[in-house]
Every structure is written in C-alpha cells, then in structure tokens.
C-alpha cells in the first residue's frame, strides 16, 4: 500500500483548468447543436410533411440503441472518407451533437404531444400566423413542460464528453490520462477528476434550474 500523494497532482493544476475549459466547450457546443437538431426534428416529426416522419424516427431509434462510443468512431473514421476532414475535437462535437439530437427529439416531442390540439386551433382562430403559433403556442410551452428531462439529458451529455478522448480529442479525462503517464499518481488524479466532474455536474444542475426559472417564470 502506497501513500496518497496529491502534491504532484496539484503541481499540474493549470492542465486541469485547461481540461475543464475544453470539456465545458465540448459540452456547450454539442448541447447547443443537439438541442437545435432536437427542436427541428421534433417539430418536423409532429407537424412536418409525412415523408419526414420515417427518417426522423429511424434516426432516433438507431442513435438511442447504439453506444455513443460507436457513433464517435463512426463519425471520426468515416467522415474523412467522404472528404470531410475534421479535427478530433470537431469530430467529437459532431458525434456528440448527433447523439444528443436523437434524445432531444424524443424528449421535445413528448412536450409537443402534451399540448392540447384545441390550443393550436384557438391560436389559429385568433388569426396568429404559423410562425407565431409554432413559437408561442407549441415550442415554448412544450419546452417548459419537458425542461427538467431535457436538462437531465444535458447533464448526461456533460459526462458523456469524458469518452471522446478515445478519438484523441482534448478534454478533462484525456488530459488526466496524460498526467497519469507523467506522474504515475493514477488514483490521486482520477479522484481529483471525479471530484471535478461532480462539481461541474452539480453546478450545471443548479445553473439549469436557475435558467429554467428565469425563462419560464412569466409563462405559466
């Protein structure tokens, strides 16, 4: 049994800070793109032309029933074959966005389905234009209804970024692995990393709850 030595770990605290920033950037960008996919997909599936429904459904089922790691490898290795050359980090963002998009479609669609048909008819009879109906009568109330599920999925996404080191993308876990090789303090480093993720996850939950209150408090 060796002793715990955190000294060599904290000597590299700037590397941890870089890692946290990369992880947050990966998470934020993929959450943004994923939610956009989710919004468009959910609206397309519920109100778009019928031809769209099957491909969107297939996309959702395929992504939800295969591992993120396989999606990551698929994007990373096949995109260059069709002439799209991305850095590891951008490939990771693409894969993570596609991944979140499928879950977001399912979640947002549940919200859209919860809106009574009569509400939309009422909006039409008041003469609201289609864009206004989609925005104020469908999207905002739907998002309000599913906001907790959606943000739980965002939290999951933050933790999901930990595996993108597998395609040599830079983030907290990958940086930790490099440090393990330099310092051999594996247990100490992973403990510190676990605590960092835990703090990120808990602060993100608080942040999302706060944003939810700000966004939806006047829209009961």
């Amino acid at each position: 049994m060796q002793n715990l030595q955190f000294g060599p770990v904290f000597a590299h605290s700037d590397a941890f800070i870089d890692g946290v920033i990369s992880t947050l950037v990966l998470a934020a960008l993929s959450i943004f793109f994923g939610t956009m996919i989710g919004l468009l997909g959910a609206i397309g599936r519920s109100y778009g032309p019928r031809i769209l429904s099957a491909p969107i459904g297939a996309y959702v089922e395929i992504i939800r029933n295969t591992p993120l790691l396989i999606q990551l490898y698929f994007v990373f290795f096949t995109l260059p074959l069709v002439g799209i050359k991305l850095s590891s980090n951008w490939a990771a963002i693409v894969a993570l966005s596609i991944h979140l998009g499928a879950y977001a479609i399912e979640i947002i669609r549940a919200g859209i389905d919860s809106i009574p048909q009569g509400q939309i008819e009422a909006a039409k009879s008041l003469g609201l234009r289609p864009y206004r109906i989609v925005r104020h009568v469908i999207v905002v109330p739907a998002l309000k209804a599913v906001y907790p599920s959606l943000t739980a999925q965002f939290i999951l996404q933050i933790m999901g970024t930990s595996i993108v080191g597998a395609i040599a993308a830079e983030e907290l876990t990958a940086i930790a692995n490099n440090l393990v090789m330099q310092t051999f303090r594996s247990f100490e480093i992973y403990i510190v990393i676990a605590v960092i993720y835990f703090v990120i996850v808990q602060s993100a939950s608080l942040l999302f709850a706060g944003i939810g209150r700000l966004l939806f408090q006047w829209k009961a």
């Binding site: 049994m1 490898y73 290795f77 594996s186 992973y190």
Partner: protein, 230 residues
C-alpha cells in the same frame, strides 16, 4: 492500402466478440440488481445515517462519468498494490455503478405503493422488513419491470466503454478490425447493427410494458435519466 479486406472472417470475428459484450451485460445486470436491492433498502431504511449513506453512493455513481470510475478501478487500484485484469475491473465497476441505478428504480417502485399500506401494515403489528416483504414488494415488483428492461438497454451500451481499458468486447474488436481493414463504414456499420439488434428488441419491450402498465398505480416509476456515457 489495407492489410486485409472486410470479409466473412472479419464479420465472424465481430460476432464472436459480441458474446463478451453480452456476458458482461448479464454479469452487470445480475450483480447490479443484487447491489440495487441493498441500496434501495438502505435508501428507505428508518435510520437517517443509512439513508444518507445510500444517497451519497447514488450521487457519486450517477454524478461522475462511468469512464472515470472504470479508470479508478483499473489504474487506480495499483495504489493498493495490485493490478486487476480488465475483466475484473470492468465487471466490478459496472456492477457497483448499475447498483445505484437499480437502487433508484427499486426505491421508486417501492415509494409508488401508497403510504397508507405501510401504516395499515404497522397497525397490524408488522415490522419494517416484514411489511416490505409481505405487503410492499409484491406490488412494487410489477412496477419495477419496465424501467429495469430499459436499464438493460443502457447497460448493453455502456459495456462499450470497457474497450477503453482494453477489454476485448465488441467495440474493441471493431477497433482492431478497423485497424487492419480500414473500412470504417463497414466495420462500425456492422458493429452498430449488432448493438442495435441487441438493444432494440429490449427497447420495444420496455415501451410496450410501460404502456400496458399505465395507470396501474397513480405514480409511474421512471428509469433514472442519468446514465453516464452510453
């Protein structure tokens, strides 16, 4: 240029690797289920410190990425003077991790049984464990089934993470085949189909069970949303 083409041999190599994915998922399911019963019992125990212990356990394993937990078990146990093989590290980590999720499912099902039943059992002179065994569990069991099937899907997908500590399951086999054939579209496409074939029937079954169970008891028990990195 590649060393070999993606042919029937490579396909069979992937199929053969899938059995380790299935085995690891089954071990996780059994071990995680057993730990989950224990965690759920602690979580609803009458003693407050026991409940806090269970909450801390659940918070840690749901609130940190499973990859970090896996690395901690695999690389970090050198601190205790030994290096487990990837199989042991993965099986132990996944069981302990799944235990938190099973614990939350079981607790949700137990708490969905109306409170009055606890009180009436108490008034009939039944103790905590007897009430649980004779009154609550028989009703809670049928509520647990749909989210448990849903969790099984998550577990199958999560086993792919074990490839990152070198366990030779389906995902790692895919990486190996991709390295020699360099036909990523075929390789990862095939592997995605294998995972899909394992997961989709379970997903459909879970959805069907959920719909059938609607309205049995007012509160529906949900699969905890947080399953890191699957």
């Amino acid at each position: 240029m590649s060393l070999r083409d993606f042919g029937p041999n490579e396909f069979m190599f992937l199929i053969a690797a899938a059995r380790w994915t299935i085995l690891l998922a089954l071990v996780t399911f059994a071990g995680g289920g057993a730990i989950g019963i224990f965690i759920a019992a602690l979580r609803i125990a009458p003693s407050r410190p026991l409940r806090w212990l269970a909450i801390a356990y659940i918070q840690f394993f749901m609130g940190t990425p499973i990859l970090i937990q896996l690395f901690m078990a695999y690389y970090g146990s050198s601190l205790l003077g030994f290096r487990p093989d990837p199989w042991t590290a993965a099986a132990v980590t996944f069981c302990i991790n799944a235990g938190a999720f099973f614990g939350e499912i079981f607790r949700g099902a137990i708490e969905a049984v109306p409170r009055g039943q606890w009180e009436s059992a108490k008034s009939l002179g039944l103790g905590f464990l007897k009430t649980l065994r004779l009154v609550i569990l028989p009703q809670a069991l049928q509520l647990m089934v749909p989210p448990t099937v849903g969790l099984m899907v998550q577990i199958v997908k999560t086993t792919s993470v074990a490839s990152l500590i070198g366990l030779n399951e389906l995902t790692r086999a895919a990486i190996k085949v991709n390295t020699v054939t360099f036909e990523p579209f075929m390789v990862f496409g095939t592997v995605a189909i294998i995972y899909f074939a394992l997961c989709w029937p379970l997903s459909l079954y879970a959805t069907r069970l959920e719909k059938r169970g609607n309205g049995k008891i007012q509160a529906k028990v949900k699969l905890p949303r947080l399953m890191p990195a699957s």
